[in-house]
């Protein structure tokens, strides 16, 4: 039987960090043939995520995702990384899923395949013309992972390879709680000794004083590590973690962060307690997804309801999505700028705001979830985070680049701020 020679699909590099780009190419196709490039990932929770783009091979029978236009699918246009950031759960999946890596010691495996024709659905029932596997890592080679459980603090510390010493980072996620290591693993892969802090859920925090000292102790654990440069430790927070970062920067008399990265955060807290449920202002959308952004709007004039950000003495980078449906982050950023200006501290502040980006601004190329499940007071609800897929993906890519440049500038002393990353 004479069988046809299949096309060859390649992903370069085949193994990469999650924030690195790749080039997906197909060769040996008949010229001018319509094909579908497809990505498939089985998450640690056993859900399937996929993305696809419709292409036409050129006169030499090749398709290059980085150079060619996708005419349809989960992304369109010239999008080198579209097969990753436009992923969503396959039809029939459970509702409200969010893709988050738990075990950073093994890579995310993504199957990239090419199908004949412009396929819209039913990829699982067809045989691809060719497929290949690519590994996406949060952990670079040589990065050390150390479980921390001391002085009441729980978390995981990631140390870059080499003798050090390194700048440090305290890395805090949002109100969902738990221990998520992936951003710290990635930061360590970029040269920062980063502690992913195990986070309580909002309801667990009983008093402001206890919360405060927990984070101060965590910061000191990083600062006192023999491979960390003690006066170059920064704070990185998202959502509630962002609020914590700002709080520590403004109010702590014990620690002095060198700089802060605050993603999708704010400066509001009523009466010193991190509780943000004023239920009468809670809205839901047509799909019964909770929208929390207006709970604390308008931004109060009352200074006791917000952090005194005028007391901050270190550079701050605020990264927000203008379509954030969970927290009024842009309004907060505006008010924070106003307060810092009044205190003569405006030169410390850098604000980046992204149109049509939502609340969950994560490292680049991770899929966007406009709404996902969230456990609130022991009950599972669906929260609307906001954002449209393509602008949100662009925001993740652009903000990460800005974040790394900001950290490089303030934690690694650079001779030339414009040096290539």
């Amino acid at each position: 039987m004479h069988r046809a020679v299949p096309p060859v699909i390649s992903v370069t590099p085949s193994r990469a960090l999650v924030d690195e780009t790749f080039r997906v190419a197909v060769q040996n196709l008949p010229p001018g043939s319509p094909v579908t490039l497809h990505s498939l990932h089985r998450s640690e929770d056993e859900d399937l995520w996929e993305a696809f783009g419709h292409y036409v091979s050129d006169s030499r029978g090749t398709v290059s995702v980085a150079d060619d236009f996708s005419f349809g699918g989960t992304y369109t246009g010239k999008e080198a990384m579209g097969l990753l950031w436009s992923m969503s759960p396959v039809p029939g999946s459970r509702e409200g899923l969010r893709l988050r890596k738990k075990n950073v010691c093994i890579p995310q495996l993504v199957n990239i395949s090419v199908y004949g024709g412009h396929v819209e659905e039913g990829f699982g029932e067809r045989l691809p013309l060719a497929s290949t596997l690519t590994e996406r890592w949060h952990l670079g080679p040589g990065v050390r992972r150390i479980e921390i459980s001391e002085r009441g603090v729980r978390g995981t510390l990631f140390i870059p390879p080499g003798p050090g010493p390194f700048p440090g980072m305290l890395d805090m996620w949002g109100g969902g709680g738990g221990l998520l290591e992936y951003r710290s693993a990635l930061l360590a892969s970029h040269g920062y000794a980063s502690l992913a802090l195990e986070y309580f859920t909002a309801g667990e925090l009983k008093s402001a004083d206890k919360e405060f000292s927990y984070f101060e102790t965590a910061f000191n654990i990083v600062r006192e590590h023999p491979q960390v440069i003690p006066d170059r430790v920064g704070l990185f927070g998202l959502s509630l973690g962002s609020l914590m970062a700002s709080y520590l920067a403004a109010e702590s008399s014990v620690i002095e962060p060198r700089c802060c990265v605050c993603v999708s955060g704010g400066h509001l807290y009523p009466r010193g307690v991190f509780c943000y449920f004023c239920r009468h202002k809670l809205r839901v959308d047509e799909h019964n997804r909770e929208i929390w952004r207006s709970i604390n709007l308008p931004i109060p004039e009352d200074l006791s309801q917000k952090l005194d950000v005028g007391k901050i003495n270190c550079p701050m980078l605020l990264v927000n999505g203008i379509d954030d449906q969970n927290w009024p982050t842009v309004e907060c950023a505006e008010d924070m700028a106003h307060m810092m200006r009044a205190a003569g501290k405006e030169h410390l502040l850098t604000r980046i705001e992204y149109p049509d980006a939502g609340h969950l601004i994560e490292p680049p190329y991770s899929p966007h979830s406009r709404a996902t499940k969230f456990i609130k007071d022991g009950v599972t609800v669906i929260l609307l985070w906001g954002g449209q897929t393509k602008p949100h993906a662009d925001a993740q890519e652009d903000s990460w680049r800005n974040i790394l440049a900001f950290l490089q500038k303030h934690l690694y002393c650079t001779q030339n701020p414009k040096a290539k990353m």
Binding site: H2, R3, V5, P6, V8, I9, P13, S14, R15, A16, L17, E20, N28, L109, N111, S113, L127, P128, A130, S131, T132, L133, T134, E135, W137, G140, P141, G142, P160, P161, G162, P163, P165, F166, P167, S189, G191, I229, P230, D231, Q408, Y412, C413, T414, Q415, N416, A419, K420
Partner: protein
Amino acid sequence: MDRKRCCVKLSVHPSRGLMDEKFTVLVQNVLPGFQLTVYAFYKCEGGYSWEAFAHYTASATGAVNVSEDPSRGGTYSGVEPMGLMWSLRPVPGSKSGLRMRKMNVQTPMEVTISVYQGHLTEGFVDQVPLAAVVVERWYMAPGVRRIPITEGGLTATLFLPSGPGPFPGLLDLWGGGGKLVEYRAALLASHGIAAMALDYLTPQITKETGKMVDYEYFEAAYRVLEQHPQILGSRIAMLGLSFGTSVTLRMAVYSQVIKLRCAVCISGSHVQPIDGSVAQIMTSFNDNADKTRFNEEQHVIWRDLLMPIPTDASLKVDVGRLRCPLLLVVGEDDQNWPSYESAMDMKEMMQRAGNEHLLTVLSYPNAGHLIEPPFTPSARASAFKTISNTPQTVMVLWGGEPVAHSVAQEDSWRKTLVFLRVNLYGGSQPGAAASSHL
């Protein structure tokens, strides 16, 4: 140590790559004009330590880019993007005659790349580097499947590329040292070819019977490929190095079973008694053992055993009868086989027979015998254990000057992949692909 000093940034991209992929080593955040040494360290499977290093001076922007900047000295000089890999050598005080070969292809080679202050040539272990990173170098791309083959009395490993296939196939033969050496086949599978590494000198069956294998063994290996549901039976190639070339040429011309789409022969010869068994090829070499020479260091030179190239047609494979494209890769400083002279004779034979259009010769000045996939060190001489009833270890001179040899490896591998791609993936008829692509 001054903990307040500016932190040097060292990065290698990609941090996880295939063995034949280049990387970029970048040093940043040093003062302009700063003198530094970039250092590579690797502990091989045998437990030996290897190192390479190069001296650089930082640019006006306080950076060093190994791919673009010249090394002023070290184990390599000039602009050499991959010098830190191919110039690796055993650390001072090591055992002599070492050769770097990865036998376990399922784990990566882990190389530590560091940067030291100043232009150092020794004592790296006693100094603390400014920064260090780890780089992984893989023979197997993600998704490549490794399948041990023992059916039909074979001692082999099949590497299937990822995906449904079907894929072109390839029989991969090493040389007179024997053993089951998998890394080249693993790399070929990472490039879309279902490649089988075949142990044909020290297979289980030879260990049990004491007899060397013959035509049937290679034909059985070919059949495994031909009948495999994920392999295209009409698109099978053979690749041989050194003695593997002898086998490849014999099978390509004389086997009634093996029908090759194309063949690649590295550092070998067509000179062999064509009547008789494969084992008799070996003994014919031994018959000329008195032509063995030695250099000043008493390293063994075996290239004369087959010289002069005979004119008698019964003493060489009749390459005029070849019906498939043939790629010959030879090093002009090969001290182990007269591969260049053999290539020239094969060319002449094919010209007379009228099938010269099938032939491509890649000939590299100052390259030696062991032309391997790129970016690993080559040895001008190394310890070689002979395959015989009374095996002995001798220091064999392979030849080759390091820079020229590494150029030969990089260039020939790239062209070999193109040759295989064109002939195995392209065209509806074998031989239709023009060798002008190279």
